[in-house]
């Protein structure tokens, strides 16, 4: 923890104190003036000590922030262990590259608690967290103190997902893909049942079988890197088209995550399968948040079956997609 530094009010107060001190020296000694000046001095010294003590022993961390869509406020929280004493005016700060600091504050904290805040609506992107710290100006606001806390590496703001009708209009092949891909048929199918083992996902409990046997029974799945929802993103396009494509892909990814489906995406320099048993959707959303358009003469995306939908959709000659 760094030593407390004067705030804006503190600097003004120091100047004011200097003026009063000068006046005290200019005038003959007066007991009451001395008393007031002593009060001001004590208040300053105590303000310094109290500010330091308000943050001393406080630990905290900012857990990973889930990727959020662009244009929507992003809730975040700081887990704080404040100890037995009440702490006043704790303010968590996260400095995001390319955006600046964002704050979350709590006026009184005690024990283990959380400070909740919301990032303002941000444009699509991956914002590296340059610094995360906890600070306080309390109790008197004359001095401020900060201490670093562990925080997430980045805040991922993926493209705002397209609404369902647009999704159907936007990519011809994607409508079928949605119709088939989200039907629940296919990729990972329950293959057998077995006894529950500690650590198993409770969502995989087969309730009917558990009820029959009187003990928890777990569904086992089988499957592999099958087709699932497969999409190709060709980034050799103009920014507006890319944004639209990314927006559609974000909607697909969210829908797949919701339906516990698998999405396979191929693009220039990026390919992967995401979903249960594969890479986490977070990686896909991070890619969508950071994707940039490529020049027209850039490399082609990895090869895929002609049946796989491509984004942005190719325009048929002389017609709308």
């Amino acid at each position: 923890m760094r030593p407390p530094l004067p705030t804006g009010l503190g600097v003004k107060a120091l100047l004011f104190y200097g003026v009063l001190g000068g006046a005290f020296l200019a005038a003959p000694y007066s007991n009451l003036y001395f008393l007031l000046l002593a009060f001001l001095t004590v208040l300053g010294v105590l303000g310094y000590f109290w500010t330091w003590r308000n943050l001393a022993g406080v630990t905290g961390r900012i857990p990973d922030i889930e990727p959020h869509p662009a244009g929507a406020p992003v809730p975040w929280r700081v887990e704080v262990r404040a100890g037995r004493r009440a702490r006043f005016g704790l303010r968590a700060r996260m400095v995001l590259s390319g955006h600046g600091p964002v704050y979350a504050a709590a006026q009184v904290l005690e024990g283990s608690s959380a400070i909740r805040g919301a990032l303002p609506p941000l444009p699509r992107g991956v914002y590296r967290v340059e610094r995360a710290d906890l600070g306080s100006n309390s109790p008197l606001g004359l001095f401020g103190v900060r201490r670093g806390i562990p925080g997430p590496d980045a805040v991922v703001v993926y493209p705002s997902p397209a609404a369902a009708p647009e999704l159907r209009r936007g990519a011809a092949g994607l409508a079928d893909l949605l119709g088939n891909g989200f039907s629940g048929e296919g990729f990972l199918q329950p293959s057998s049942l077995r006894e529950y083992r500690p650590g198993d996902d409770p969502r995989r409990i087969h309730h009917k079988a558990s009820a029959r046997r009187g003990a928890f029974v777990i569904k086992e799945f089988e499957g592999g890197a099958g087709n699932g929802i497969e999409v190709v993103l060709d980034r050799r396009t103009d920014p507006a088209s890319l944004e639209h494509a990314l927006s559609l892909l974000a909607a697909v990814a969210l829908a797949a995550r919701e339906g516990k489906e698998v999405v396979e995406l191929k693009s220039q320099g990026f390919a992967g399968t995401f979903g249960p048993g594969h890479r986490p959707f977070r990686e896909l959303l991070t890619f969508l948040a950071a994707a940039e358009p490529l020049p027209a003469g850039g490399p082609a995306p990895p090869p895929a079956s002609p049946a796989v939908p491509r984004l942005p959709a190719r325009r048929p000659a002389g017609g709308r997609p």
Binding site: K12, F34, T41, G89, A105, A114, N137
Partner: protein, 645 residues
């Protein structure tokens, strides 16, 4: 929290107006509207949206500002602080009514403290201490709530906690300040760089009850009665009975019907005089002292040293370092002005026993004919005086001794006439009106009436101005003399005893300041004494306080040795706190307490949100003492069993 902050700002400004009120720098014509605008500020604030309201407000502020600046330029620097104080109060009310939720009230805080500082120069009375004790927590609380508001965040349900915390902090700040005030060595007689260039006087048109070297009857206007301590008299030896309450500053012997003044160079043949005895000491040879006092003259602008008539010797402390003094033939002591080196001065005095005629004039040399300057001037005395003198004398035997005559006149005035302060309804405008009995008067009227009546009877006498106080602090053997104790009385030249003090002013005029008998009166006197200790604090008092604090532990030890039950009594609150804490701890399940103790013994930081099981896993990866680790394993298992059973 915003509402609380707004209320605190209102309270802070009200305290500022209280400060201005006790200085009497502003009349109710100013303070009344300011008070109303302060109280109504939460209601007025939303009106700021309207342009017409803002125009009206700013126009009014400008007008008030112009009036104040005009007054300041007319009155000169003498009223700089008073005008400045009122201006600061106006600024406070203006700021309070114009600070929006997103604006910083920094200036309001600084201005409010400035008002407290300026007031400390203009008012030293007990009310200041009361106001400051209200002001200090308000300032701390307002700063605290402001800091919380600036940090943002939710504050619902935390108001009580913030208030409690702020009050504790304010108490700590005030307590430590008092310790600093007691302990810190400093020069109590330090001259400022500007010296006494700025004098603090009451506002124009207002009279101040204080010592004066000239008396003018018929002055009218409101009277300011200040509790400012001007003299402290510490009894070094003798008893309080040896110290008369009358401290002379000047004698006035020439009266022209309205004004009293000192006819310089005149004296009565045979009068005693102060004889220099070297090293700032003056004496009246041939007298024996019965008591010794130390007088501290706190007013650096005083032009007189105040001494009782019974003083037979006085010595300036520091061998006259306090400045030059010039003893006068009337046994008063003049202190010439000498530029910027004015400071409080201390002197010791030896007093003879009262009644032993310290103002003695050698009998053989008492003049048979009353000197001209001790007679009434022809044609200047109101006719009512002659008829009254004849009326009082009618009841006295023709050969009544002078002392009896004097007492008869004194008693007549004292019993038959009303005491009223100048400016009070029914107070006299001149001596004739007072003597006719149609109007009351203050001490100057009583003393003038007696002097004029006695002179009509051919008794030589003069008016004396100074202080009269009976405000004894018996414990510290200190007599406090305040500005409001300023008084005028009469000295009569007795053919046997020399100059005698005669006071015709009826008792209960408020000048003596004797404490009453009730609990409240005694409490008030105690508070006054305590506050006087603060305002009159000096190097000796500091040393006494430091010695007292240093000796406190041994005295406490000795006290406990004599009365061991005192220790028990002192430990009771501590025991209560311990019990409370223990009971509170017992509310936490023992398994959790055991786990916390085991985890704490490992010295590992516990990040928020980490479960005991996760903590154990992390601890296992470290090279930790096996015994402690085992203990953690056991307590973790016990904790889980208790938590999830």
């Amino acid at each position: 929290m915003r509402v609380l902050f707004r209320l605190l700002l209102v309270a802070l400004v009200l305290a500022d107006l209280g400060f201005v009120y006790i200085t009497e720098a502003a009349s109710w014509i100013w303070l009344g509207p300011l008070l109303l605008l302060t109280v109504a500020s939460p209601l007025l604030l939303p009106l700021r949206r309207h342009l017409s309201y803002r125009l009206l407000w700013n126009g009014s502020v400008l007008a008030a500002f112009t009036i104040l600046v005009q007054h300041a330029s007319r009155a000169g620097v003498a009223y700089l602080l008073e005008d400045g104080l009122l201006l600061a109060a106006l600024c406070q009310v203006h700021l309070l009514n114009n600070i929006g939720p997103d604006q910083k009230p920094d200036l309001l805080f600084f201005n409010s403290f400035l008002i407290a500082v300026v007031t400390s120069y203009l008012s030293l009375d007990l009310m200041y201490s009361v106001l400051f004790l209200v002001y200090a927590p308000l300032l701390v609380l307002a700063l605290q709530v402001y800091a919380l508001l600036r940090s943002g965040g939710e504050g619902r349900g935390s108001t009580g906690r913030v208030l409690r915390d702020g009050l504790v902090r304010a108490a700590a700040a005030v307590g430590i300040t008092m310790l600093v005030f007691l302990y810190l060595p400093r020069d109590f007689h330090r001259k400022g760089l500007l010296g006494d260039r700025i004098r603090f006087r009451p506002p124009a048109g207002m009279l101040e009850a204080d010592f004066t070297e000239e008396v003018t009857l018929g002055r009218s206007g409101p009277m300011r009665v200040s509790d400012r301590v001007v003299l402290t008299v510490r009894l070094l030896s003798g008893t309080p009975a040896d110290v008369p309450g009358y401290f002379r500053g000047a004698t006035l012997d020439f009266f022209d019907g309205r004004h009293w003044r000192y006819a310089r160079g005149t004296s009565v043949p045979g009068d005693e005089r102060w004889v220099p005895a070297g090293d700032g000491t003056f004496a009246r040879p041939g007298h024996r002292g019965a008591a010794r006092i130390r007088v501290e003259l706190l007013d650096p602008h005083a032009t007189r040293l105040f001494l009782p008539l019974s003083a037979v010797r006085f010595a300036l402390e520091g061998g006259g370092r306090g400045g030059r003094v010039a003893p006068l033939p009337d046994l008063t002591v003049y202190r010439p002005r000498s530029g910027l080196d004015r400071q409080s001065v201390s002197y010791t005095a030896t007093l003879s026993r009262p009644g032993r005629a310290a103002g003695r004039t050698r009998r053989s040399r008492v003049p048979r004919r009353v000197p001209a300057h001790l007679r009434n001037p022809a044609g200047k005395v109101p006719p009512a005086a002659r008829s009254l003198a004849e009326r009082i004398a009618r009841d006295l035997p023709a050969d009544a001794p002078q002392r009896v005559v004097v007492e008869a006149f004194r008693s007549f005035l004292s019993r038959r006439y009303r005491y009223l302060l100048p400016g009070q309804e029914g107070s006299a405008r001149d001596l004739g009106e007072f003597l006719r009995g149609g109007a009351g008067g203050h001490c100057e009227y009583f003393a003038t009436a007696l002097a004029v009546l006695l002179r009509i009877r051919g008794i030589p006498c003069r008016l004396v101005t100074g202080y009269r106080s009976e405000e004894w602090d018996a414990a510290n053997r200190v007599l406090a003399i305040r500005a409001r104790h300023a008084h005028a009385w009469v000295e009569v030249l007795d053919p046997d005893a020399g100059w005698m003090t005669v006071d015709p002013t009826p008792p209960g005029d408020g000048a003596a300041g004797a404490a009453g008998e009730g609990i409240l009166a005694r409490l008030g006197a105690l508070l006054n004494r305590t506050w006087n200790e603060v305002t009159g604090f000096d190097e000796k008092a500091r040393r006494r306080a430091v010695a007292w604090l240093a000796a406190l532990p041994s005295r406490v030890g000795a006290g406990i040795g004599r009365r061991p039950w005192l220790l028990l009594l002192a430990l009771l609150p501590a025991g209560g706190l311990w019990l409370r804490r223990t009971l509170r701890r017992r509310r936490v399940p023992p398994e959790v307490r055991a786990w916390l103790a085991a985890a704490g013994s490992l010295g590992l930081e516990r990040p928020p949100g980490e479960t005991p099981r996760a903590f154990l896993a992390r601890a296992r990866r470290r090279a930790l003492p096996p015994k402690r680790l085992r203990r953690l394993e056991e307590t973790t298992a016990a904790h889980e069993a208790a938590r999830y059973r």
